[in-house]
């Protein structure tokens, strides 16, 4: 079993992981941070998106051991105490979620979109959400939330 060290939401963690353990499984089962969700088995739905060393990653597409030494941010690491991250707040303000299952991955992707493109158009947001499926909202309020969240993030 590989021994890995990762920094998750600012906290150092050392763990032994099975070679086959996916990063998503490691985060959910071993770290018991269940905000990262698994909605499919073909890396389509995007519910498991986290940030690994600044890159937006579907955590079901990499093994936990591949994250050895990495700095990881999950949905649990976005808010500042009781203050929501501007993107989380925008999702709430714009009703960008219903059942909440795709939401963690959706918000993590949205933060990445805003970081890469601080003032995205509706079309750019829709294209950039290609890797995240939501079955509840019809996307429109998510798109509005991403735009508002990006605006709030650029301050």
């Amino acid at each position: 079993m590989p021994a890995i060290k990762v920094r998750v939401n600012g906290r150092e963690t050392a763990a032994d992981v099975d070679e086959r353990t996916l990063l998503a499984t490691f985060i959910r089962e071993q770290l018991e941070m269940t905000g990262t969700h698994v909605g499919c088995d073909t890396s389509q739905c995007g519910s498991c998106v986290v940030e690994v060393d600044g890159k937006t990653v579907k955590s079901c597409t990499m093994f936990a051991w591949q994250a050895d030494g990495a700095d990881i941010t999950t949905i649990e690491g976005l808010a500042d105490g009781d203050t929501l991250h501007p993107m989380q707040q925008a999702f709430r303000d714009h009703h960008g979620l219903q059942c909440g299952f795709c939401t963690p991955g959706m918000v993590m992707t949205a933060v990445a979109i805003a970081k890469q493109n601080p003032d995205p158009s509706v079309e750019e947001i829709r294209a950039a959400l290609e890797g995240n499926i939501c079955r509840c909202t019809g996307y429109q309020f998510i798109v509005e939330a991403v735009q508002a969240g990006a605006k709030a993030m650029r301050g």
Binding site: H37, E76, T137, G138
Partner: protein, 781 residues
């Protein structure tokens, strides 16, 4: 979005309470339930659509380190468990004989009847070991010919799936006046007929189904956490019919549920199997479907072939409608299964249009596929599609304007209240006004310019419209209980069930608004048979209609009881007390007391009148609706079609809905948009496909196309609030399903409009590029 406070908070776009939990990763879904000593179950699923199970050898699986148990259909039979019964509201053939209900056991006993059916269950220390061990269970199958497709199932030489169901027929059905319909057809100037397919789709809630069961030997009882939308009825079925225990022995809980759309309404095999697994190994057992298993084992929806005939006069006046439907059920009767293609699809036949007569017939048919059960709308999307497609098809064939046909034939306001030819009581609404408002939103004046702009890009532009009639309310009774706590909070427990619709907010909004208390003081409980002992769960867009009405009724009861307390404190009589904005007062005096003080008094024996006990404001009431509500509305959209590639892009979308009173416009918008996206998905890309042997070809999200953000245009929504219904206390008509009722015909009508120059008059959904491309070529040839 407006956040202005409204009187009693009805109509206010309150932001959701539950969002904080979901946005910070603190939602608790079934896969987040982790119990001490918990182990895992995995299903061995049949690779065959139809086969005899000759033998099962689990010895190799049992030798794997960490495997605790394997059980099979033989064990299931020996344990004496009962099959899962159907609760179809239509129970008899036309001639009165009972529907053919084959025994649907939680696992195959000796024959499998669809690919994905469970034949064995492995229980192991970890999820990975359990899955791996399923591969080591050796099952000897003797394959049988599979029956795939409705027409093939009804063919005279089709293999028989069930001995009790000759011709693979579960049920036949009719509704309406055939004699009047035939008479009207004979007298009409035109009768236009089209066979149309309502494609087989599935709900794909992003949270896969799963369950955790924990058996307690001391009390001989189970706790079941289940990604279910309907814990009360399913508790009764699982306990009494299947496990054969008293229902009090099954504590059924749905934690946060990640979407349902009907696919989590019914009783499924796996939660029952994990109850047994927990009893067998003496430890809590978790099972979570993966997505591939979900496609195989979730219920599917729609899947109807209908021959629709519209009789109309040469001036375009509709006379009569006849619909003959063949609906697929899969291998067994699902919980609601046989109802959907029969009664479920019959009720809204004819939509909001005026008819002298309507006649509907249906056959519900078994095939060797996964089961069919309600998917958002459950029959109403089918009826809406049939009606609004036959209008455009008739218009195309007779050289008429489809929008003019719609406008001309909508039931006028002065005909309401009315009973439709299908027996629905329409008490309120203004269909022509709703339609007028829709068309006014769509910028018809700019259309020709947009057509030219599309043409300049080599694209054909088309416009499509639908006008729908809904019927909502689901289970008629709902229960709401409030309990005022010492810490100033009030617990609100309601037996309906939000799987994303936002009851935690909208119900608290109704309660807090009526009582004049803060929403932050309301703690919401749902979907737990201990916390909410009575309930009707989710289904039929019933949440606000019956759940919200139960909340309001309970709030009113609290106010009535509060008046007795206030009267006692003021030394007057309760009929002199009024209540407004959170205060009880006696007009003409300086007597006033806040509800907060009355709540405090309600727990103090010294402050209560004779006859009232401490805790007397902790009240539960059951609201029971009468007849179902009739939401209605109209949708429109524009598409661009690339005739070279067949690619369709939906570019504009407009909706006007009459949902009566709107409690929270933000949440209502969300329901409509989500429904529209599902309807657009069905129209453009979604389809469950089996090959001729019953192998599922669309078994993953790589194969089953779902709408992504860039498949859906910006939607423009409006509500018509001029016609609240008197059928419930809030005046609301269900908003949950209407989006996917109205959307599919809009898309297909718009594409056929775009392609009219090629002579394309109909394409069956989904309108994939290949089908559109072929339709253009076939029409041009």
């Amino acid at each position: 979005m407006d956040t202005t406070p409204h009187k009693n908070r009805i109509g206010e776009a309150v932001r959701r309470v539950e969002d904080i939990r979901f946005l910070t990763g603190k939602g608790r879904y079934v896969d987040d339930v982790k119990l001490p000593n918990m182990v895992y179950a995995a299903m061995v699923r049949s690779p065959h659509a139809h086969a005899d199970v000759k033998s099962i050898d689990a010895s190799a699986a049992l030798e794997i380190d960490g495997v605790l148990a394997v059980f099979t259909g033989a064990d299931w039979k020996a344990a004496g468990y009962g099959p899962i019964p159907t609760k179809s509201a239509v129970k008899t053939f036309k001639d009165g004989s009972p529907l053919k209900e084959p025994p649907h056991h939680a696992m195959a006993i000796d024959r499998v009847r669809h690919a994905g059916e469970v034949v064995a269950v492995v229980v192991a220390e970890t999820r990975e070991i359990a899955r791996e061990a399923t591969e080591a269970v050796e099952v000897d199958y003797a394959p049988l010919p599979a029956v795939i497709g409705i027409k093939a199932a009804l063919a005279p030489d089709a293999p028989q799936i069930w001995d009790i169901a000759p011709g693979n027929l579960c049920l036949d059905f009719e509704l309406g006046n055939e004699e009047a319909q035939k008479k009207a057809f004979a007298a009409a100037d035109h009768v236009v007929t089209l066979e149309m397919v309502n494609n087989r789709v599935t709900a794909v809630p992003i949270e896969p189904r799963g369950a955790v069961a924990s058996y307690d030997k001391a009390s001989d009882s189970y706790t079941l956490w289940n990604a279910s939308q309907n814990i009360h009825a399913n508790r009764d079925t699982i306990a009494e019919a299947c496990l054969k225990i008293e229902k009090s022995k099954l504590h059924h809980i749905a934690p946060d549920v990640g979407g349902g759309f009907g696919a989590k309404n019914g009783v499924y095999p796996e939660p029952i199997l994990v109850c047994h697994a927990s009893k067998l190994v003496g430890r809590p057992v978790k099972w979570i479907n993966d997505r591939g298993e979900s496609f195989l084992s979730d219920t599917h929806g729609r899947d109807q072939i209908s021959t629709v005939s519209l009789a109309l006069d040469k001036d375009g006046t509709f006379r009569a409608l006849r619909t003959e439907t063949l609906g697929e059920l899969g291998a067994y009767c699902a919980t609601v299964g046989p109802f959907t293609p029969t009664g479920g699809s019959a009720r809204t036949q004819g939509g909001p249009y005026k008819f002298d007569a309507i006649f509907y017939t249906a056959k519900a048919v078994f095939t060797n596929t996964a089961l069919l059960d309600p998917y958002r709308g459950a029959g109403r999307p089918e009826a809406s599609y049939q009606m609004d497609r036959i209008i455009d098809y008739a218009a195309a064939n007779l050289g008429m304007d489809p929008q003019e046909l719609r406008r001309k034939n909508l039931v006028p306001r002065d005909m309401l209240p009315m009973k439709t030819p299908m027996g629905l009581d329409v008490d309120s609404g203004d269909f022509p006004e709703v339609y007028k408002r829709l068309i006014a939103m769509t910028d018809r004046g700019g259309y020709e310019k947009r057509v030219k702009e599309s043409a300049a890009k080599g694209l054909k532009r088309g416009f499509g419209v639908s006008a729908y009639l809904e019927c909502t309310g689901g289970g008629p009774k709902e229960h709401a209980v409030v309990e005022f706590k010492d810490n100033g909070k009030v617990t609100l427990a309601v037996g309906s069930h939000s799987t994303g619709m936002g009851h935690e907010t909208s119900f608290a909004q109704v309660l807090a608004g009526h009582l004049g208390i803060g929403m932050e003081d309301v703690e919401f409980r749902q979907a737990d048979t201990d916390a909410t002992p009575i309930g009707g769960g989710h289904g039929g867009s019933r949440g606000m209609e019956v759940g919200g009405s139960a909340v309001l009724q309970t709030a009113r009861a609290v106010v009535a009881k509060g008046k007795e307390i206030a009267a006692h404190l003021f030394e007057t009589s309760a009929d002199k007390i009024e209540f407004e904005d959170g205060s009880f007062f006696e007009p003409g005096t300086n007597h006033t007391i806040t509800i907060r003080d009355v709540i405090d008094a309600s727990n103090d024996p010294d402050k209560l009148p004779d006859g009232l006990q401490p805790g007397c404001l902790n009240i539960g009431t059951t609201f029971e609706r009468g007849i179902i509500s009739i939401p209605n509305g109209a949708h429109a959209g524009e598409v661009e079609v690339d005739p070279e590639t067949g690619v369709v892009k939906l570019v504009s979308y407009w909706v006007v809905d009459d949902f009566g009173t709107i409690v929270n416009p933000l949440l209502a918008d969300g329901q409509v948009m989500g429904g529209v996206a599902q309807g657009v998905g069905q129209a453009l890309m979604e389809e469950i496909v089996y090959d001729e042997n019953g192998q599922l070809l669309t078994g993953s999200l790589m194969d089953y196309a779902m709408p992504r953000a860039d498949d859906i245009p910006t939607m423009h929504l409006a509500f018509y609030e001029g016609a609240p219904t008197a059928k419930n206390l809030l005046g609301v008509k269900g908003a949950g399903e209407a989006g996917c009722v109205g959307a599919p015909p809009v898309v297909v009508n718009a594409v056929c409009d775009a392609l009219k120059e090629y002579g394309v008059k109909h394409i069956d959904m989904p309108l994939t590029p290949e089908k559109v491309w072929r339709a253009i070529r076939a029409a041009g040839a």
